[in-house]
Point group: C2
Chain length 140, copies 2
Amino acid sequence: MIPKTAEYALRAVVILARAPGRPLSADALAESTQVPRRYAHKVLQALVRAGLVGSHSGPGGGYTLLRSPEDVSILDVVSAIEPIPRIRRCPLGLKGHTSLCPLHRQLDDAAAQTEKAFAQVTLAQLLNQSHSVPPLCEVK
Amino acid sequence: MIPKTAEYALRAVVILARAPGRPLSADALAESTQVPRRYAHKVLQALVRAGLVGSHSGPGGGYTLLRSPEDVSILDVVSAIEPIPRIRRCPLGLKGHTSLCPLHRQLDDAAAQTEKAFAQVTLAQLLNQSHSVPPLCEVK
DNA sequence: CGCAGGAGGACAAAGATACTCCTGAAATCT
DNA sequence: AGATTTCAGGAGTATCTTTGTCCTCCTGCG
């Protein structure tokens, strides 16, 4: 559904949101998110480029969430990694009306729907639902 | 969003639905759906295995839609190629509650949403919307 | 200064997906 | 039967994503 990389990014950001202020190293994040060590680096770098998280070298350094959890939606994170592909023109390249044909309209509507669903959920909301199950299933 | 192969399958099935009774060859379908010739064949074979379309060799043969357009949903076609991946257990493999954590609950909800959207639209509906734009954008 | 903990970038291997080619088999027509 | 049309299936290629390895550079601390 969404690329693995986006999943990984979401996990990382959730973990970061739970450790406000305190920087977490890529290796630490890789462990708690169960993402392959070196791949975690890559994912985090993408998040840095997108301006969602900040990085700092040296002892005591690591990654931190730059924006407040209320201001970060699932869509923000997913889009930072890879935007949800929308269908704007006819993929067949057929010239025609400005609007999509029924098939591609449906496909794009589905994309729009998930985009909207992702835009409506913030990190803060994910954390606040902890009364049921904590953010990343870490229940013994 | 959905794999390219699924897109191709949808195009093929739409074209087939517009040519009731009359079999269409893989090459003909490849052309009108703008799918690479050889690859179209592979996609069609998958649809045959799924029982959605039937095939017939020899001159005048080709592929035909087996079920009536009212009985085939977008989901049927997509699932024949590759089912929409649902999240049933915690992907981290962490043992815990029976329910998903908030993050994965959201992700799976989105999947469920598109699954539902795809299940509600039939081929017949796509064809009937032709008053606006014909099924595959073929407007000059 | 020098060291250790950290990020960052350049490859390369493994896997999945998309695509091609080649050869065989079935059905139809003459 | 033989030729032609069209499906069936497997092997091979290309490309992308995911993952792994190595080396460099930055930064805080003693």
